[in-house]
């Protein structure tokens, strides 16, 4: 099994006529994703690789049951696009768009919570359930996607889009396939945290362990540690937190806006120690991950 998406998921793409969306649509179709429609206001009647284009999400939901939307519109239109998807009852939304103001994101997420919508991102490269379907640009063209991602029992959750692929590739090369790999988004405020996604993986009987990739800054790893400590989980979690050297340079941004260290509680060493205290396996080096995963699932 998998979480969030599978071969039956009916997907729409908002902003489908944009350049990145074009490529992403083609690659997703090639991978087997069921894309039932796209939205670009004013482009009704056009088609993108055979996918019909509509003006409004409401026009698509009249004809199809839509399970997920991929948002690939420019940042200034992203809030409206997400509200439109939420309002039309689409249960899963993956926001790929970068540079959405935090206030807009918070509004999207609050509106989404009121409607029970699951939101991945913003600033995500997508979600993939290997061998079944994918949302967003994750993996690239189908032949590359197939080298990196293979079906199997490991869940992957990553703060970094690039590392979603890197981790999955490492697992694949050690004979460990993935149930679903999620680029959760690099922004300081995102729709689904480690804890939100762990809840989904827990409910998936075929997932046997989860690998997570964290970065400096923010309180999401601390939230995960707390959650595991208070509640426990059937799934072994293998974590890696990048950017230990950043501790020597507080306030400096090394990439994602979310990765700036503000205080003493969001440094990498602090996160690693909180995760360890909660019984989560923390890899010192990224290359240890496949071995640690194999050891962990032996006992499950």
């Amino acid at each position: 099994m998998s979480i969030l998406i599978d071969q039956e998921t009916k997907v729409i793409i908002q902003g489908i006529t944009g350049r990145e969306a074009f490529t992403s649509t083609r690659n997703s179709l090639d991978y087997g994703t069921k894309i039932v429609g796209g939205v670009t206001p004013g482009k009704r009647g056009a088609d993108v690789y055979g996918v019909p284009v509509y003006d409004c999400v409401c026009d698509i939901v009249k004809e199809h049951e839509v399970d997920a939307s991929v948002i690939l519109v420019p940042a200034r239109f992203a809030k409206d696009a997400a509200f439109e998807a939420i309002d039309n009852g689409i249960p899963v939304i993956n926001i790929i768009t970068e540079d959405i103001p935090r206030r807009d994101t918070a509004e999207i997420l609050e509106f989404g919570r009121q409607h029970g919508t699951t939101i991945i991102g913003p600033n995500s490269v997508g979600v993939i359930s290997p061998g079944k379907a994918k949302l967003g640009p994750i993996g690239g063209p189908v032949q590359d996607t197939n080298k990196t991602f293979t079906p199997g029992p490991i869940g992957v959750i990553s703060r970094s889009g690039g590392f979603t692929g890197e981790l999955s590739n490492m697992l694949t090369h050690s004979g460990l396939g993935q149930s679903t790999a999620i680029s959760m988004g690099g922004d300081p405020i995102i729709g689904s945290t480690f804890v939100d996604l762990m809840l989904l993986f827990e409910a998936d009987p075929e997932t046997k362990a989860v690998v997570i990739f964290g970065e400096p800054g923010g309180n999401l790893e601390a939230e995960l540690a707390n959650w595991v400590q208070n509640r426990g989980t059937r799934l072994p979690i293998i974590a890696f937190i990048a950017g230990r050297f950043v501790e020597e340079m507080p306030g400096v941004s090394f990439g994602h806006a979310g990765s700036i260290v503000h205080g003493s509680s969001d440094t990498v060493s602090q996160k690693m120690s909180l995760l360890r205290q909660a019984g989560i396996i923390v890899a010192e080096e990224v290359s240890q991950i496949p071995k640690l995963v194999k050891e962990a699932i032996k006992y499950v």
């Binding site: 940042a75 540079d99 609050e110 690239g140 690099g186």
Partner: protein, 397 residues
């Protein structure tokens, strides 16, 4: 964008939050003039965008003109965490009776803003939360519902404050929360907010950050208040400065380059990948020349070529290492071409100058063909980033 203290206070004043009478001085002479206008006693505060200002000696008190001159000339010379001040804020020093903390920021776990109040102001709020959690009150704010003052009142009241102080603090706190929400701030903090012996409340220090991408939305207010005009005398090295100019150019998305002065020049990107590679180099005892995250949308020969040239020209760089995660959007062949072009053009041998090249992803077969042709030492996706770093360090010798 982090505001300087004087900029933050300009915004607070506009929002009807009182601050001490004050003037910004750019020279010792201006500080003296400001002092005579405001009157004593005074506090002189270094205008740097950094914490730890008090400890470093960037805040001094004066009760006479000669003290002002001495204090000002010292502060102007003093760097705080490597940063030189852009001026000195000369401020009237009131008789403080009690200090409070009021702040608003985002909570990633709750995905909402959180308003925080404490009657133990003047110290780091994280410390207060650890030592005296009962003195810190927090509440998440809706971003869909309009803000209503009672939420601030509940927080102030919850630590036991009543009477006139409750009403004064509620008003100031509510104004700060509205400022946070209306101006796309990511942090708005008054610490300390002081009650003076005459019963008035003033913001003694303020820390405000506005989200960079929203600056255009607020350009009118920012211009009106003179915020964002001060260019910090940066401590960027010439290498960092050139990289920053390049990243600001058309077609580049993000990107960051930090000088570390070593011999192993780094090229790479992909969010967390650069962090992982850099950690690995430090752990394995390498000598990195720089941190490099080449940002998003990276698939043009010319971009790679320019960036590779910049790193190759950096003094002290003996060899370069090109390390990325498995690329999902960019093309391996284009990156190989860009790097090799720069190396050859600078008159180096591609077999010797490139310590390691580990860039898997789209078009990798074509990429590997080119790399073989130019005898570049490359690794494919079956090798980890740690492996690539080990190989790179080995080849530095």
């Amino acid at each position: 964008m982090r505001f300087y203290e004087y900029e933050a206070k300009n915004l607070l004043k506009k929002q009807l939050i009182s601050v001490p009478s004050q003037r910004l001085a750019r020279t010792v002479e201006e500080a003296r003039e400001a002092a005579t206008q405001i009157g004593f006693p005074l506090v002189l505060k270094s205008q740097v965008r950094s914490g730890g200002r008090m400890k470093a000696g960037g805040v001094k008190f004066a009760s006479a003109v000669d003290e002002v001159e001495a204090a000002a000339s010292e502060i102007f010379k003093l760097k705080v965490r490597g940063k030189a001040p852009v001026g000195i804020l000369v401020e009237s020093k009131g008789d403080v009776q009690q200090e409070y903390y009021v702040g608003v920021t985002y909570d990633a776990a709750a995905k909402l803003p959180v308003a925080i109040f404490s009657d133990l102001g003047g110290i780091d709020i994280e410390e207060v939360a650890k030592q005296n959690p009962e003195r810190v009150a927090k509440s998440h704010l809706s971003v869909l519902m309009p803000f209503s003052d009672f939420r601030a009142k509940q927080l102030v009241g919850s630590v036991g404050i009543t009477g006139g102080d409750l009403n004064s603090l509620t008003q100031i706190f509510s104004r700060l929360i509205r400022t946070f929400l209306d101006y796309d701030l990511t942090l708005a903090e008054i610490n300390p907010l002081a009650k003076l012996s005459d019963g008035s409340f003033v913001a003694l220090d303020a820390h405000i950050e506005m989200e960079d991408v929203t600056i255009p939305r607020h350009s009118q207010t920012l211009t009106e208040l003179g915020i964002g005009r001060t260019q910090e005398a940066t401590d960027l090295t010439p290498f960092e400065k050139k990289a920053a100019e390049m990243f600001a150019g058309e077609g580049w998305v993000g990107g960051s380059m930090v000088d570390f002065g070593g011999s192993m020049g780094l090229l790479g990107g992909g969010g967390g990948t650069s962090l992982v590679a850099f950690d690995s180099i430090k752990k394995q005892g390498g000598d990195p020349a720089n941190f490099c995250d080449w940002g998003g949308n990276f698939s043009a020969v010319d971009k790679v070529y320019q960036l590779a040239k910049l790193v190759l020209e950096k003094p002290g760089v003996e060899k370069i290492a090109v390390i990325t995660c498995v690329l999902q959007a960019a093309r391996v062949d284009l990156i190989a071409r860009g790097v090799i072009k720069a190396v050859l053009e600078k008159g180096y041998s591609s077999a010797e100058k490139i310590a390691v090249f580990r860039v898997p992803g789209g078009w990798e077969e074509e990429g590997f063909r080119i790399l073989k042709k130019y005898k570049v030492n490359f690794l494919d996706r079956s090798f980890s980033i740690d492996d690539a770093v080990r190989e790179g360090i080995r080849n530095m010798r």
